[in-house]
Symmetry: C2
Subunit: 375 residues, 2 copies
Amino acid sequence: MTIAILGGGQLARMLVLAGTPLGLRFRCLDPAPDAVAGHVCEHLCAPFDDPDALAKLARGAEVVTFEFENVPAATTERLLQHGPVRPHPRALATGQDRLFEKQLFQHLGMGVPEYRTAHTLAELQAAVAAVGAPCIVKTRRLGYDGRGQARLKPGPELAAAIAAAHRELTRGNDGGLIVERFVPFQRELSVLAVRSLRGEIAVYPLVENVHEGGILRRSRAPAPDVSTATSKQAHDFVAAVLQDLDYVGVLAIELFDLGGTLLANEMAPRVHNSGHWTIEGSVCSQFENHVRAVAGLPLGSTAMAHGQATMVNCISTLPARDAALALPGVHVHAYGKQPRENRKVGHATVVGADRAAVDALAAKVSALPPARGEW
Amino acid sequence: MTIAILGGGQLARMLVLAGTPLGLRFRCLDPAPDAVAGHVCEHLCAPFDDPDALAKLARGAEVVTFEFENVPAATTERLLQHGPVRPHPRALATGQDRLFEKQLFQHLGMGVPEYRTAHTLAELQAAVAAVGAPCIVKTRRLGYDGRGQARLKPGPELAAAIAAAHRELTRGNDGGLIVERFVPFQRELSVLAVRSLRGEIAVYPLVENVHEGGILRRSRAPAPDVSTATSKQAHDFVAAVLQDLDYVGVLAIELFDLGGTLLANEMAPRVHNSGHWTIEGSVCSQFENHVRAVAGLPLGSTAMAHGQATMVNCISTLPARDAALALPGVHVHAYGKQPRENRKVGHATVVGADRAAVDALAAKVSALPPARGEW
């Protein structure tokens, strides 16, 4: 059985590594000649809208899935002519658009930060006035890792900042903007869950995330100090989203924790960086469970394997290789990517029974000097 | 950094899966067009003695390693012209020959079953007479999974059995025979260890193995009911072998346990089936540690990750797919091989804190009906 993946980055690579022991084969499509999933599976090097490449990708494949949500509609339409695409492009369409996402969250009774949409500069000015500064302007579509976002502060420079944000964020973007009120959250959480073809749902424990510059830096699971009620709220919410979208595969939802009150921020209709700890930290990782789900197989257990897990992202550079590998109990995942400013080039996970010990070892990884180049 | 592997079976495949997260690339050479490591790395499909293929295998590779010990001497000599081979072919030569192996074990003060060598039928008759039946005749070289072996029982048919064994085992075999006294062992154990390029040694806990028909069926780690003295003896012994051979990589030694007295049976200069449980059962698996060692990297921890582990081999067929995947906590590894009588097509591992619970779940896997074909 062959699984086709749209995209050949580190998420596709980890899907391949997790799915191969299930006896599955993989094929990916990515326009980048050095796409790192290509190290471990067949790699079709072509644009995402190349009809021949899409036909080749789907040929003989049981199912097509993807490692990113910004798939052009024309691409998914073509793929659907060849066979099943999971999760279904209908779900993708919601995850691609910050407005549709929020409307779904609200429809399911979940709170979201106050927001307004805008296209023109005048609409953006009105939206900021309605929501109030500080606020965040985001493109409705195609944003990730803090890209396609601008923070606006109150004060004499606000008008100029609005104009600059409008200029920046509407460049090459026809999907409009959304202004979100800045939420004084205590922390960011995420909830990852998976739904099978038969409708079974399994939810991973809540994750606590630390972002810097819009990029995830560190995740801890299970998120410390979460009440049973909060945990249940997140669990029920992600299950409701999965059901509403008739979703198949792994879904991640980012949440703001306002001292026990949760607001939904955004969702990612795919495996997610805040779930990388599940490779060592869970009985069955998000990657294996996504593969199981889209391949129509039974789900694996989302229980913690060791009690606690902390993941540290390697941004721009990996840590010094020998120093990192010499730390016992540190699981390093180097993605095989060229180091580049603000690029995710790897992550490291520490697992164990004791939260303080796990965090202490993770801190050692963060404190390592950077590697000089690739590993 | 690229690692070249001679052989492209499931051991090479698991080396690739374990080494890829270290940022390494892999290339394998295997004459079989359907070699399953080829699903996850570059596969050169050519005979092991093809000089051009060997040059291509080694080109740009940091090191060449192998997934089996029966490498022709001409092959290793050619490879050494291109760059480092780890473990060194000197170590391989010992592991390839049951006589050399036993002589090394004895040299290091380890007991071995009483044995005699033979080439001619007359020598074989004399050897059996000296050792006494019941005994086992083995080819000195090229045996595995019970092949190249014959068991001889005392009685009126012994003479005919000796003649038949000689006929069978000398066919296409120029390395001679070895006759080993049958040892009334209580159980079979194995010890796996790894030595780095810098000479660091790490040893996995002793493993208890159950063979049937010469093929490994089940491994449990740590082996239950092992005294500290026995454990230390095995540990010191494998460390002495590693040092004596200036070995780099993972080495496995099979032992007979005669109620606390250990005898060495044979060694495998490579990752070993009785170490497959280390993928989930150890902080750092035998596969990752072999890759770390041959690549010149620091070793990972050989400590147990969950306390207990049991591995069940899938011989001839895999278990029914959906039933196996639906068992929570069962880690199935399907090798992507066509089912065939007595072929190792996969394994399943169960880990946990409680020995009885781990064994009970492993027994459920063993009791599953077979899959109808490939997964």
